[in-house]
């Protein structure tokens, strides 16, 4: 089935069965391998992308449910002011250890800051608890979100 989606600002057309998870369309068909496969059942957050600006787990999202919505992935998030701010804070604080989960962490953090520019700890918990990090970078993630928020404000 031919489908057209706007991904990172570009119209992309591809053939995929409607039940195929968006993650496989991104990685295997479109070559956007920055989004990672983790658990495959929306329990780890590694595959997080934005659909119309909201964080969604692409591993369980059938591409047929998307119709004409707008997708942003880790490859495109730096083009948004919030995303660029998050990435800078991530670099400044050297958040990343192995890095496998960090695409998802950054996508969730960018969505949080877009909707809640000045998050408190409970907002960070509510937005980030579904993103798991095997290396345990949670403390630096929290600090980087706060730094990105502070930079965004000033």
């Amino acid at each position: 089935m031919a489908t057209t989606l706007t991904i990172n600002g570009q119209e992309r057309s591809f053939d995929a069965p409607p039940e195929m998870p968006l993650l496989w369309v991104l990685r295997d068909i479109l070559g956007l391998t920055g989004t990672k496969f983790g658990c495959g059942m929306a329990q780890c957050g590694a595959c997080t992308v934005h659909v119309d600006g909201k964080p969604v787990r692409s591993c369980v999202l059938p591409v047929g449910n998307l119709q004409s919505r707008t997708i942003t992935t880790i490859e495109g998030i730096g083009a948004t002011p919030v995303g660029a701010g998050v990435q800078k804070a991530w670099l400044d604080l050297e958040v990343v250890q192995c890095g496998y989960c960090q695409s998802g962490q950054i996508m969730s953090a960018a969505a949080l800051l877009a909707s809640t520019p000045d998050p408190d700890d409970s907002d960070i918990d509510a937005a980030m608890a579904g993103n798991i990090c095997r290396c345990g970078t949670y403390v630096r993630i929290r600090a980087a979100i706060k730094q990105a928020a502070a930079t965004q404000k000033s």
């Binding site: 039940e19 059942m41 929306a42 329990q43 957050g45 997080t48 659909v51 909201k54 964080p55 969604v56 787990r57 369980v60 999202l61 059938p62 449910n65 409970s122 907002d123 918990d125 509510a126 608890a129 579904g130």
Partner: protein, 449 residues
């Protein structure tokens, strides 16, 4: 002598009165027939002039006996109970866990030693209509023969023909572990005498062919009432509260009577039809548990016309109200800070394990099948089905890969499952539940595994 004759008269009188009272009590408990709500008008099938409401759909009338038998077998949903989880189809061994012990379903493949391969037509009809096994022993009414009694001989024998076409599987289910007096099979003869009408389906001449078709499908084959109608003191269906909802196997079968606030009164015909054939209706939730299995193995295989006939029938029963049930169809606030304030443990689990699919509003960004808002389960203050879905996960087979939720029964403690169930029912439903770890342990124990 006069005094003694008087005592005898009083004694005989007391016995007669006692017998009348006892019969009256039995008659009362037995209650109305499943279709008595229409006013009781009915005719023999042969005397119904508007068409044949039994058998396969008109579009399949020319099909082979096996194809017709298959349709009817699926409509009667035989496979779900006669297949153990992970076991061979129709080979039995599915556990019915009850407070007084566990029963296991039988092997209905045509194996001559362990299945039904030696059943004659009459023996098969005796089992289907009267609950009598080939060896003369009584079946327990876990086999819904009081419903199947409505099935015509021709349809029952088509089902037999289909079952006999399956591969023979040599399999003996585990022994039942029922405690006394429930382990006395012979006593089921008396149960059947009172509760099994053993009458074939009789159409109502004042109703349309569509309604009668729906009645036949829902009552004889799909046996909706076996889960959705509450049971009386004798464990038979209490048709005074037809389709009012009932607990079943650690889950809750919801009120499917047309009551506006607590039943299907607020559903459109299309909603009910969609729920039956797809296991989902927008804004009304998604089928799980035994209803999910009924959709996957039975309703999804039925024709649209048959689904619509059942909808027409279900709509016609008298409304029953479920006390303590209210429906909230508005989403929860978008911010995690609004809504439920208490229950920090429940919130912590929700934000880590659930929010990424179900969202803070209850309206899923992943799939409408995962939307919690408006579903009966999330509004049920007993949170029975919510807890069961958390424990066991859920999966819809139709349409392909429509929905799958992992099970959390092995990663969350009973305490945590209670907490997250209480959190989500409070956040997304009309009224929060107050489950305890003990309640969750009880629910786990009732599920067949």
């Amino acid at each position: 002598m006069v005094v003694r004759a008087g005592i005898v008269r009083v004694f005989i009188g007391a016995v007669i009165v006692g017998a009348i009272v006892a019969l009256g009590a039995v008659w009362y408990v037995r209650g109305p027939d499943p279709l008595a709500f229409t006013g009781g008008k009915s005719v023999a099938l042969a005397d119904y002039k508007d068409g044949d409401p039994t058998g396969v759909p008109t579009s399949m009338r020319q099909a082979s006996l096996l194809e017709r038998g298959r349709y009817l077998t699926e409509a009667a949903d035989c496979g779900v109970c006669h297949t153990a989880p992970g076991g061979k189809e129709y080979a039995g061994g599915f556990a019915f866990k009850m407070p007084f012990g566990t029963m296991y379903s039988t092997n209905i493949t045509p194996d001559k030693e362990t299945g039904i391969g030696k059943y004659t037509d009459q023996e098969f009809l005796d089992a289907m209509h009267r609950g009598i096994r080939r060896d003369g022993a009584r079946l327990y009414p876990a086999m819904p023969y009081t419903s199947y009694a409505y099935i015509t001989d021709a349809d029952a024998l088509a089902i037999k023909a289909y079952l006999f076409s399956l591969a023979s599987v040599r399999a003996v289910p585990p022994e039942n572990t029922l405690m006394f007096p429930f382990n006395q099979r012979w006593a089921m003869a008396f149960w059947s005498l009172v509760f099994n009408r053993d009458t074939r389906f009789r159409p109502d001449p004042s109703q349309s062919l569509k309604w009668n078709r729906g009645a036949y499908l829902a009552e004889a084959l799909a046996h909706c009432g076996e889960c959705h109608t509450p049971r009386n003191i004798g464990f038979a269906l209490n048709n005074r509260e037809k389709f009012a909802g009932a607990p079943v196997g650690g889950w809750r079968a919801f009120n499917i009577s047309p009551d506006k606030a607590t039943g299907l009164g607020g559903w459109s015909d299309e909603d009910i039809a969609s729920y039956l054939s797809l296991g989902h209706a927008p804004g009304h939730g998604t089928a799980s548990g035994a209803m999910g299995e009924a959709v996957d193995h039975s309703f999804s295989k039925m024709t649209q016309a048959d689904i619509e006939a059942m909808v027409a029938f279900v709509r016609s029963v008298p409304p029953s109200t479920t006390p303590d049930f209210a429906l909230r169809s508005a989403p929860a606030p978008a911010s995690h800070k609004d809504g439920v304030a208490a229950n920090l443990l429940g919130k912590k689990i929700f934000e880590g394990a659930c929010a990424s699919c179900h969202g803070w509003t209850g309206e899923s960004a992943v799939s409408p099948f995962a939307t919690l808002t408006g579903s009966a389960a999330i509004n049920d203050p007993s949170a029975t089905n919510v807890a069961q879905i958390v424990i066991g996960g859920t999966r819809r087979l139709t349409p392909a890969r429509a929905l799958s939720m992992p099970s959390f029964g092995h990663v969350l403690s009973d305490d945590e499952i209670a907490a997250v169930s209480n959190y989500v029912t409070a956040r997304f439903g009309a009224k929060g539940s107050s489950l305890t770890a003990r309640d969750v342990a009880n629910m786990r124990a009732q599920v067949s595994d």
